[in-house]
Amino acid sequence: MVTRIRPATVVVLALLFAAAGYFLLPVVWVVIAATKSTADLFGTFGLWSPDPQLGANLDRLFGTGDGLFGRWILNSFLYAGLGALVATLLSAGAGYAMAKYPFRGREALFNLVLAGVLVPSTVLALPTYLIFSEVGMTGTFWSVLLPSMVSPFGVYLARIQAHAAIPDALLESARLDGAGEYRIFFRIALKIMSPALVTIFLFQFIGIWNNYFLPLVMLSDQQLYPVTLGLALWNSQTFRDPAFFELTVTGAAVSALLLVLTMASLQRFWRAGLTAGSVKG
């Protein structure tokens, strides 16, 4: 490695640090703001907390409305965790079969899935609400969970991974050894596909966690809210009672940090499948 500092290095690093400052600013601001009283939030410079009282803010955050905030966090984890888990399994099965078994109509089905990749969740939320209200299922836990179990992008990634990583010869020899198709899938294919499956799970987890439109139209009972919906509700109450500012800010800080921690610890899994969408088969 060259250890001399060149002007070019200084320029590159200066730009990188400036960008890091930009991306971290709102997160730093909210962490500092979470330690302030409402008076200080509006009365002091945003990046300085003269009289930190994080403990009191956290007590209020988790104590308001019978522990409502903790419930929202739990709901978010349930929606995102269960939804992503099922979505990953369904995608793995469909992607594997579409890569490894030739059958009539396969390409047509796959093109349908590809078209599905281009339909954003926002477009779907409203019609999904209409169809759930036809069968009287709006306002339930299921109305948010069930639609979250479908990931066309997951099928696309799973098919690419199965196609690239599972040799046909391996399947043939497993069959010769007398293994059944299901056993091959659960024992061999899933193991080989695991990098892509982790990626699918994480994508879907973050997608569900961040999806706001679907729970917004589906849910009316605050007990079922995910944290995004809950914080937006509190934010809309601030005009009635300024104390909600403090709750919203502290809640935003806690939920942002929660995800930051999750992502920082899962960082190394993320790089595996990111380009799968842009590699030619």
Binding site: A99, D168, E181, N210, F239, S278
Partner: protein
């Protein structure tokens, strides 16, 4: 769109072994494929079909509105209503303008960050990668709340600094609100798109750079002439996804709405459709508007893909 994958070649028969047709594979295929496609049909295709169906009907109440309104076939009536509604047309114009601002900004930022991080001069790569990517994990609602606090004079350290320096600092006025929303979107997704590009850059064989350096090319020239052409496919990918995302604009203006008079209840097509469905209780017009938004996203993204695919080799 097709042609992503080559057709799976059938396994050549090994010497001395007759090619084995796998026995009764149909059942297995169904078991593997059905769960996803049943869910896909129920929660993906059915809602779309239902919305399209609803968009061709309307409720009409006769006379004085004393009788129950009757459901009747409206043909393209709802579409005509939507497309002749000045506010809805204005919202479409607004997101198109927003796309024009946001897509080039996003692609330029993501590319610049990727090239900077990938350059031979970069240090502390892991720290920068994580900090740029962090906002992706912050939900749009919370990102909008955070930036909302940074846009409002009472709580914003940014405005304190800008005002002290005598610079303009109105983030929520009618002329600047769209740029402020674009900033929230860029903040959220630039790091994610950067990672997509970096993964593409890392797939480039190092020998190419070595060869270019031996020929005396500077790092800047290598970036421009070697790296950028080789990440063409992921560049197109992030462009399309950004394009689709911008047309769907919803959460950011919804959250910023209470802070400014510059955002009304039909500021974007999605907000307008949401407002029709839940504010005006007109699901038929809302369905037509949602269908129009989806069609618009499709037409624009396919149009873009056709354009770039005609200019060179296929990206998809």
């Amino acid at each position: 769109m097709a042609g992503v994958l080559q057709r799976t070649p059938t396994t050549p028969a090994r010497a001395g072994v007759a090619p084995r047709r796998p026995p009764r594979r149909r059942a297995h295929v169904a078991v593997f494929v059905a769960p996803f496609f049943v869910a896909f049909a129920l929660f993906f295709l059915a809602p779309i079909g239902y919305a399209i169906h609803q968009s061709f009907f309307r409720l009409t109440s006769s006379g004085l509105g004393l009788t129950e309104p009757v459901l009747e076939f409206a043909g393209l009536g709802n579409y005509v209503t939507a497309l002749t509604d000045g506010a809805f047309l204005a919202s479409i114009g607004r997101v198109l303008l927003f796309s024009l601002i946001e897509v080039p900004t996003m692609v330029a930022c993501a590319l610049a960050l990727a090239l900077l991080l990938d350059s031979a001069r970069a240090r502390f790569r892991a720290f920068f990668r994580v900090s740029f990517f962090l906002p992706y994990g912050v939900p749009g609602v919370i990102a909008s709340l955070l930036w909302g606090f940074l846009y409002v004079p009472q709580t914003s350290p940014l405005i304190d600094v800008l005002a002290a320096a005598g610079l303009p600092h109105d983030f929520l006025g009618p002329d600047t609100i769209l740029l402020s929303i674009a900033n929230i979107s860029t903040w959220q997704f630039a790091g994610y798109n950067m990672l997509v590009l970096i993964a593409g850059l890392q797939a480039i064989p190092q020998e190419l750079y070595e060869a270019a350096r031996v020929d005396g090319a500077s790092e800047t020239r290598i970036a421009w002439h070697v790296k950028i052409p080789l990440v063409r496919a992921p560049l197109i990918l992030i462009t399309v996804f950004t394009l689709i995302g911008t047309l769907q604009l919803f959460v950011e203006p919804l959250i910023l709405k209470p802070l400014t008079t510059a955002v009304n209840s039909d500021y974007t097509p999605n907000l307008a459709a949401y407002n029709q469905a839940f504010g005006q209780a007109n699901i038929h017009l809302a369905s037509a508007e949602a269908t129009l938004i989806a069609v618009m996203a499709f037409v624009i993204s396919f149009g873009f893909l056709r354009l770039v695919n005609r200019k060179g080799n296929r990206a998809w």
